[in-house]
Amino acid sequence: MAIVFEKTKGLTDKPTHYCPGCTHGIIHRLVAEVMEEMDLLDNAIGVAPVGCSVLAYEYFNVDMHEAAHGRAPAVATGIKRVHPENFVFTYQGDGDLASIGTAEIVHAAHRGEKFTTIFVNNAIYGMTGGQMAPTTLIGQKTTTSPYGRDEATTGKPIKMSELLATIDGAAFVERVAVNNPANIRKAKKAIKEAFKVQLEGKGFGIVEVLSTCPTNWGLTPVEAMKWLEKDMMPYYPLGNFRKPEEVE
C-alpha cells in the first residue's frame, strides 16, 4: 500500500478563502509541489500580489512578501538582487500583472531579472467584484461591460505571453491551463521548467496559467472549466513561446 497523492508540505494547513471551484487552489498546489520536489522550501521567497490571491502568503509554506498592486516584479527584483542565492517567485493575477503592473513586468523581463512569475489569467477582476480586465474576452459580460466587452472602445484582450516573448531578457515564457487533469499535469511541468531556468541563472521566466472565476463569470465550477476550454483557449493558445535551448 503506497500513498500516491497527498498534500504537499509546500502549503500551510490554513484553508483558503477562495470560492468553491476557484483554480487558484490548484495553481497554489502546483507551485508548492514543484518547490517541494526541487527542495526549495527553505530557500524560496515568494511575492504575493493584490487581487484574490493577496493572502497567498498565508498559504505558501515559504518566506513571503506582499507587494503593492502590480509591483510584485519590482519587489522581487530587489529581493533577488540582495539575495541572489535565494529562489524568488511572484504570483500575480491578470488585473495585477496585465493592467496596473504592465510596466513592472515588461521591464523586469527586459532587464532579464532572474526570478520567476506565475501569472494567473482568468479574464476578469475577481476580488473587486468582476470588473472588466485587459484580458477580458470580446463580448464577455462583466460588471463594467454589462453588454459585453466592445472592441471599438476597449480594444482586444492583451496577450501577455506573446508580448513578453518578444523581449530578449525573458528566457522562459509558456502558457498553460488548469481545465482538466492532463493540462494540470502539463502546467506543473512548465512551472518546473521555469523554476529550473531561474536556478540555472538564465534569466526571467513566466508561466501564464489560464484560470477560472466561477463566481464572477456567473457559472458553476464545472461550467467555468468548459468556458475556459471553449472560449478562452482559442484566443489564448497554449504552448511554449520561448525557452533556452538547453532546457528540455
Binding site: 500513498i3 497523492f5 497527498e6 498546489r29 487533469p181 464545472v222
Partner: protein, 73 residues
C-alpha cells in the same frame, strides 16, 4: 495483470462541494453527498463504491482545496 486498486480519502470538512472531482473520475464513483452538510456548509464529495477506485489521482489533481489523499492498494 490484476487491476490496480485504490483508496481515496476526503478531508471532508475542508471540501467546498465544487464538484470538479466528480467530473474527472474515469470510473464515475465520486458524487456530492446531498444527505450531509459539512462544517463549511457544503455537500461534501464522497465515494460509495471504493472497491472500484483505480488510484488514478485525477480527483486529487483537480481538487482546488487539496482535500483528497489517494493510496494505491
Amino acid at each position: 495483470m490484476a487491476k490496480v486498486k485504490g483508496r481515496t480519502t476526503f478531508e471532508e470538512d475542508l471540501c467546498k462541494g465544487c464538484g470538479l472531482c466528480v467530473t474527472v473520475c474515469p470510473v464515475n464513483i465520486i458524487s456530492l453527498d446531498t444527505a450531509r452538510i459539512n462544517k463549511k456548509g457544503y455537500h461534501p464529495a464522497a465515494i460509495e463504491e471504493m472497491n472500484k477506485c483505480i488510484a488514478c489521482t485525477n480527483c486529487a489533481t483537480i481538487c482546488p482545496d487539496v482535500v483528497i489523499t489517494v493510496e494505491r492498494l
